[in-house]
């Protein structure tokens, strides 16, 4: 029955590259096209690809629902936290200049953490939406009988 061996092997080869590309898009976003939104959807797409080939339960073992739900809120909190931190350090909300030793490094640091927050929330939301869609028939079937 294992006629999907080619898919499985190719997926195993491709997923690491997709994840690394996601990280590249995230961290190279300062210099080239990319950033949190793009990297988030690429990372989510890699996990969804894994779920398509290896099945939803396998994907849920790798990235459990609880982790996804935590990250979904954590990204927004991280972004807001950067804003709060800049208030505590004596600036305005989301005023990155105060975050580092000098204004330029403060800006750089602020942008880095803000983009990290965007990445985390976007990836988690995309993944969670896929999870609830894909699990719906299964859960409904269990509940029905």
């Amino acid at each position: 029955m294992r006629l999907d061996i080619i898919l499985r092997v190719i997926a195993k080869l491709l997923i690491p590259f997709a994840l690394v590309f996601g990280l590249y898009v995230q961290f190279h976003g300062d210099y080239g096209p990319g950033g949190g939104f793009q990297a988030g959807v690429i990372v989510a797409a890699a996990v969804i690809f894994y779920a398509l080939i290896y099945g939803l339960p396998a994907a849920r073992r790798v990235v459990p629902d609880a982790v996804v739900e935590f990250l979904l809120a954590f990204g927004v909190l991280l972004y807001s936290g950067v804003g709060i931190a800049s208030i505590l350090l004596g600036g305005n909300f989301l005023d990155y200049f105060v975050l580092g030793a000098d204004p330029v490094s403060g800006q750089h640091r602020g942008i880095f953490w803000v983009e990290a927050g965007v990445l985390i929330t976007v990836a988690a939301v995309m993944l969670k939406i896929f999870y609830v869609f894909a699990a719906r028939k299964r859960d409904a079937g269990e509940a029905g009988q």
Partner: protein
């Protein structure tokens, strides 16, 4: 040099026209198709064409997002929805002439509205005269980040991006609230009531 850049512009316009024609064909296909599987595949193709148009317009960030979300994740989600609902669209009860009329009139008015806009990529356009020069000259110096798109998105427009992130978060929460009716633990407990409606 001048002729070279001009032929590049002509080539770009030709590519855009071909891509937009193909997108129109895909859209007509979506409207006429009754098999929803075909509709989903056509809309995936439409998104890929849209992403390519964005590359032609030098908006690589948007192209990346469109390719990953529009062609990738949305297609998977729509296929999941077909799996839940069944694969064919029922025939419409009446001929939708009124919606067609409304859509045509709105489209014609939008096209009429574009006639008043400045020419595409005109450097004298008001939008390129306001804050854009300041972002382009000051941004990389003040932040140490050479990519102006990232600077504007994360720093100058940090509030907007925070709002967008909250929108994504709220959308996720909304989908969870709608689709996850019962938590898995209660399903295992089997309370027998079965409150699906």
């Amino acid at each position: 040099m001048a002729t070279g850049s001009r032929s590049v512009i002509i080539l770009e316009e030709l590519t855009a026209v071909v891509l937009l024609t193909l997108m129109g064909a895909a859209a007509i296909g979506v409207a006429r198709q009754r098999n929803l599987f075909g509709v989903v595949l056509l809309s995936g193709i439409y998104s890929f064409l849209m992403a390519t148009v964005m590359v032609v317009l030098d908006a690589v960030d948007v192209a990346m997002t469109e390719a990953a979300v529009g062609a990738g994740i949305s297609t998977v989600l729509l296929l999941g929805a077909i799996h839940l609902t069944g694969g064919t669209e029922s025939k419409p009860i009446h001929r939708p002439w009124l919606p067609l009329f409304v859509v045509t009139v709105t489209g014609a008015m939008l096209v009429y509205g574009t006639l008043g806009l400045p020419a595409f990529s005109d450097p004298q356009a008001p939008i390129h005269q306001h804050v854009a020069p300041r972002y382009l000259t000051e941004g990389p110096e003040k932040t140490g980040v050479p990519n102006v798109v990232t600077v504007v998105l994360a720093s100058y427009r940090g509030f907007d991006t925070l709002g967008e992130t909250f929108v994504v978060f709220t959308a996720g929460i909304g989908v969870i609230a709608l689709l996850r009716r019962r938590n898995p633990r209660r399903t295992q407990d089997r309370d027998g009531e079965g409150d699906r409606s």
